[in-house]
């Protein structure tokens, strides 16, 4: 064990050296080389940690933001209406909600395509017929599908944080990133920074100084009926939480099962260990 600690210490020293070397490189403020410029802010989420659960009211607000704002450009192809049960909706509510959408279906017996109201088994319809149409309507960059966005985005944590993350169970890189990005507009770029035309400066953007998406949310844009503040910050939190649910609908089930599994292994392990002590008691080893 002492040896392992020693070797870890050696590694730590080496890593510190790297860190120092990196710091020396530095970067000019107007021409950054590493993105994002600012790291995402770590927020507190109800679904974090070993006993984390989704805040259903928050998810419902997030769905509202998605429906009224994001869904104009972003598809959510993998999410079916029936799964909205996870947000606390009843079967009847889901039926009503699905029926608000028009689904292009077919062919029918006559061989024609037709439009019909949505059913719970349908998925959220996409705003554009294909990726090319989405790109053409959005300045050349197709808005990404949102079904998995909260797991498909994450800023590298770097040493030594990625080690601590194991113990703190930090797995909210996606929602943190989405929240920071959505609240990261409205900032003035440093003097001399070149912002390509048709793009918008955002120091939290993962792969450049600016992105094609203009600031999507503004205060008061979406009406909440539960009295929650109608601010960009609140909208961003809610939609980020909703997207985490969309990406990982079985998160609560997973954590609950995990706790039972670990408790079982702990008890079983203790029993086996005591048996092992007994078996080996009279054998020097």
């Amino acid at each position: 064990m002492k040896k392992i600690l020693t070797s870890l210490a050696v590694l730590g020293l080496l890593a510190t050296g790297v860190g120092a070397a990196m710091a020396q490189e530095g970067h000019a403020e107007a021409a950054p080389t590493h993105f994002p410029i600012n790291e995402p802010k770590e927020m507190s989420w109800t679904f974090a940690g070993p006993f984390g659960t989704y805040d259903k009211a928050q998810l419902q607000r997030g769905l509202k933001v998605y429906k009224e704002v994001c869904s104009a450009c972003h598809s959510m192809n993998l999410v079916a209406f029936r799964t909205l049960e996870g947000l606390g909706y009843s079967e009847a509510q889901i039926k009503t909600l699905a029926a608000e959408y028009t689904i292009h279906d077919g062919p029918n017996d006559a061989g024609d395509m037709f439009d019909r109201p949505g059913k719970p088994s349908d998925h959220f319809p996409a705003p554009f017929p294909n990726e090319q149409a989405a790109a053409a309507a959005n300045g050349g960059a197709a808005p990404p599908d949102m079904s998995l966005l909260a797991k498909a985005r994450g800023v590298e944590r770097g040493f030594p944080r990625f080690v601590f993350d194991i113990f703190t169970q930090y797995a909210q890189g996606g929602p943190d990133y989405i929240h920071s990005l959505l609240t990261g507009y409205d900032q003035t770029p440093p003097a001399g920074m070149a912002i390509p035309e048709g793009t918008h400066y955002n120091p939290y953007f993962l792969s450049g100084v600016s992105l094609k998406m203009p600031k999507p949310l503004s205060d008061g844009q979406v009406t909440y009926d539960d009295g929650s503040p109608q601010t960009v910050d609140q909208y961003s939190r809610d939609v980020a939480a909703f997207l985490m649910w969309a990406a990982e609908p079985h998160l609560e089930d997973r954590k609950k099962t995990g706790f039972r599994v670990l408790v079982f292994l702990l008890i079983f392990g203790a029993l086996v260990y005591m048996t092992k002590r007994k078996v080996w008691a009279d054998v020097a080893h």
């Binding site: 002492k2 040896k3 020693t6 070797s7 050696v10 590694l11 080496l14 890593a15 790297v18 070397a21 990196m22 490189e25 070993p50 993998l78 799964t83 990404p144 079904s147 998995l148 797991k151 498909a152 985005r153 994450g154 040493f159 993350d165 194991i166 169970q169 797995a171 890189g173 996606g174 792969s207 990406a247 609908p249 079985h250 089930d253 997973r254 954590k255 099962t257 995990g258 706790f259 599994v261 670990l262 292994l265 702990l266 079983f268 392990g269 086996v272 260990y273 048996t275 092992k276 078996v279 080996w280 054998v283 020097a284 080893h285």
Partner: protein, 434 residues
Amino acid sequence: MSEGHSTYTPKTGIERWFDARMPLPRLIYDSFVAYPVPRNLNYMWTFGGILSIMLTAQILTGIVLAMHYTSDTNLAFDSVEKIMRDVNSGWLLRYLHSNGASFFFVAVYIHIFRGLFYGSYKAPRELLWILGCIIYLLMMATGFMGYVLPWGQMSFWGATVITGFFSAIPLVGNWIQELLLGGFAVDNPTLNRFFALHYLLPFMIAGVVVLHIWALHVVGQSNPTGIEVKSKTDTVAFTPYATIKDAFGMIVFLFIFAYFVFYLPNYLGHPDNYTVANPLKTPAHIVPEWYFLPFYAILRAITFNIGPINSKLGGVLCMFGAIAMLFLVPWLDTSKVRSAVYRPWYKLFFWLFVADAILLGWLGSQPAEGSYVFMAQMATLFYFAFFLVVMPVLGLIETPRRLPNSITEAVLEKKNKGAGGHPAGAVSAPETKG
């Protein structure tokens, strides 16, 4: 150890019936009950058993996943998401399988480093060691192909980069690459053959594991002192002694595994793999799975041409060479003493090598630019120097510490020391350290 004749006596009628026709119960009894194991094995020796359950778990979860998976580039990504969302306990199966691959590698790396520390590869265990190296190679191929199946961005680009290595080989390189891909680029034929091979290779691993265990049962287990078993007092019966110890090791390992599966299931993966593969959009940094990172760092460390060998071929040669080193270890190590416990200098270099491998892994995850390149080059140099210089030279010049005469002696020395009863008589028991 296998020379000892069987002590199995069939007790019931049905056992006698089987024993006369196909003595399977006798084989099981001799291999897993009466089989003598050195009495001084520490918990590092439980990883063979841990690896067996990981292989079994991977095959079982994998077969069920294959029932729901579709290996078509247009459907693969969505079929995996279907498993995650709609299949009963599909999320559990898939997270067990993807994290299981990582923990399979965690276990195999500990198993390999244990072998390197205690000199488990030395005569008469060279073949046992080489069979292990073959299993490791098969695991790498299986892991790599498995990572391609979800058809995310890292799947696609990882496959593109890794199959690209083969094109560096002179004359036949392009032919090999096209054979692997089933075309000129990663596409539907690639995905289909990778799926077929990903299903096949684990059974080949299982086959080589049988050979590995067979060879083990012929030469017997090594042990922390590195001294061969000399008398019956040196050993204990596999059951209950090794069985219960292995069981405890497995539970501890499964506990850590479960912690990741249930609380950090995507920690060891890359976010980009939750974006469907797009051949027109290259990710900013293409990184392989963590268990390939040291070799990836070695590959990228060769940024210069050496005579007729350009940097690309040089990198590929170094990467494959790094794995080939393992096969040569039984003959590179010239020491007469097996265990690092009695080799102070080798022990030091061993831990430096472990640190070097971890450093290489970290460098492999960083972009190949600036000071990282130089560090990767130095770490690569040490990697090869450990095998090609340290191992042969140390064996010749190092003065090992005094070895006990037998396992029993070593164990009793340790016991007396632990009891504090005979401080004067007790010689140092270095096998307890490390």
